[in-house]
């Protein structure tokens, strides 16, 4: 088994200066994740599941602890890695999938989806072809491919977002409720894609409102409880 991530005693709280208050998010979280494994984060609303995902992605700065990420060139602690290193890993190896699309004015759906491939150096024509394949796979109607998603419905935007987020295989995927409000066809396409990626060795950590959506993929679960966390349970 190839280790991808080792989280040790990770701690996050928020310092709210205008209130002179500290908001505890979680403390003492430890777990490990291997290539091709799918870890489900469980726990009631507000317990910090999404906060944990964002801390692993470094949208939130950890307070203490380590997030050892294994690269081909050795391990690096994401809790303390330089911003430029994090940016580089996000371009190449670590993906974050939410239910929200950040649409930009005047950028066509197919161009938004192709962008991660373009940034990875794929030729424009090939990237576009691949983008269209994934838009089709997630059930975005052909007429919409060249349109601007700023005007799409929430459900259609979400499909564009998933196609974009999953077009380039990563080594680690963080999934923040990507199935919420998806129609049946798109949800099936998502599970198929995740299953393929998992088989290719992509490690995943996910928060799902309805874990049943991805039941077939789950290898292990961690239960987060208010301000503490239980040991992770092998299924």
């Amino acid at each position: 088994m190839t280790p991808v991530l080792e989280v040790q005693n990770l701690c996050k709280h928020f310092e709210m200066h205008h209130l002179g208050q500290r908001l505890m998010a979680f403390d003492g979280i430890s777990f490990a994740l291997n290539a091709g494994e799918f870890l489900l984060l469980r726990g009631p609303n507000g317990v910090g599941k999404s906060t944990l995902l964002r801390t692993l992605y470094r949208s939130y700065l950890p307070r203490a602890g380590h997030i050892w990420y294994h690269t081909t060139e050795g391990r690096i602690d994401l809790a303390r890695a330089a911003d430029v290193d994090i940016a580089l890993l996000r371009r190449r190896e670590i993906g974050f999938v939410t239910q929200f699309l950040i649409a930009r004015p005047r950028v066509a759906a197919e161009d938004i989806v192709a962008e991660p491939l373009r940034r990875a150096g794929v030729a424009a024509g090939d990237a576009l072809k691949e983008a269209r394949r994934w838009l089709d796979e997630f059930g975005v109607k052909r007429d919409l491919w060249r349109a601007y998603p700023t005007t799409f419905s929430g459900g259609e935007q979400q499909k564009v977002n998933l196609a974009r987020a999953l077009i380039l295989p990563q080594r680690l995927l963080l999934l923040d409720e990507p199935t919420a409000s998806l129609d049946v066809g798109a949800r099936a396409a998502l599970v198929r894609r995740l299953s393929d990626l998992k088989a290719q060795g992509v490690a995943m950590i996910g928060v799902f409102h309805h874990p049943g959506d991805v039941a077939s993929l789950i290898d292990r679960e961690i239960e987060l409880t208010a301000n503490e966390v239980s040991e992770d349970v092998a299924l």
């Binding site: 964002r54 700065l61 303390r80 911003d83 430029v84």
Partner: protein
């Protein structure tokens, strides 16, 4: 490189030097300080920008953000400080260059777009002429080449070519910014500096200009530094953000981290004040 993140009331983990990013920064500014009389415009400011990166600088009026950008464009010299660009045939502290060398460097390797088009353009010359001026400085003498290269730059800036001989004074604000941008990128500079490039434009026009900038960034991987008091603009454009106040850097970080988990008291106020 000293992390500024530990300054102020922050207690997050201090960050390590880059390990995976092996390309050196294109721009390195170290310990830049500048006073105008009693006013401290910049105090011990350091910044790095990596090739292909977009660095955003935010702060209110008087924070020193525009002064810093002018320093990057070698329009002013600090009292102390070091400035380097990792380009061939360019060594040493750029603040030590004489006026002629500065002018050549700025004309050929650095592009700038100002908030006020009057600062960047000759308003009574044609738009294509404004762009061609840059090329002339760089030694281009063939009229056909001037015309063709000017055209390419205007096209890349998404300027309507049927108006390329109109004078900037006859154009709308958004179009004037496109002429400035065409002039700035005509020589394919290593560094593009943007000083409040969309401030004062209508929101819809602002979105179009930002989109053009994003396209350029994506297609040409131009290294950019963008200064704005508008957090939305910075959020759209920047990979990393530097927050300035009273001539000092109070915080810097990845764009999403600065907006979602600001550490410094002042950054929290800025982010929470945004509509």
């Amino acid at each position: 490189m000293v992390s500024e993140r530990t300054v102020g009331m922050t207690q997050a983990l201090s960050l390590l030097p880059p390990q995976l990013m092996t390309t050196p920064p294109l721009l390195t500014m170290t310990g830049v300080s500048r006073r105008y009389g009693d006013v401290v415009a910049l105090h011990d400011v350091s910044a790095v920008v990596y090739p292909g990166e977009v660095l955003g600088i935010v702060g209110e009026s008087g924070s020193g953000k525009s002064t810093l950008l002018r320093m990057m464009n070698l329009e002013d010299t600090p009292d102390t400080g070091d400035y380097r660009l990792a380009l061939p045939d360019l060594a040493g502290n750029l603040f030590g260059l004489d006026r002629f060398a500065r002018r050549m460097l700025c004309a050929t390797r650095i592009g700038i777009v100002y908030q006020n088009p009057h600062q960047g353009l000759l308003m009574q010359h044609t738009s294509s002429g404004n762009v061609a001026e840059r090329l002339l400085i760089a030694g281009e003498r063939s009229f056909a080449n001037l015309r063709a290269r000017g055209r390419t730059a205007l096209e890349a800036s998404e300027f309507p070519l049927d108006r390329m001989d109109a004078r900037p004074i006859e154009l709308s604000g958004g179009m004037q910014q496109r002429v400035q941008l065409a002039k700035a990128i005509a020589l394919e500079p290593a560094l593009l500096l943007l000083d409040e490039p969309t401030t004062g434009l209508d929101v819809s026009v602002q979105a179009l200009v930002l989109d053009t900038l994003k396209r350029l960034q994506r297609d040409r991987a131009i290294t950019m530094v963008i200064v704005s008091h508008d957090l939305g603009v910075i959020r759209t454009m920047a990979d990393r953000v530097m927050v300035m106040r009273r001539g000092r850097v109070v915080e810097q970080g990845l764009s999403d981290q600065i907006f979602q988990d600001p550490q410094h008291d002042y950054t929290q106020q800025l982010v929470h004040a945004k509509l």
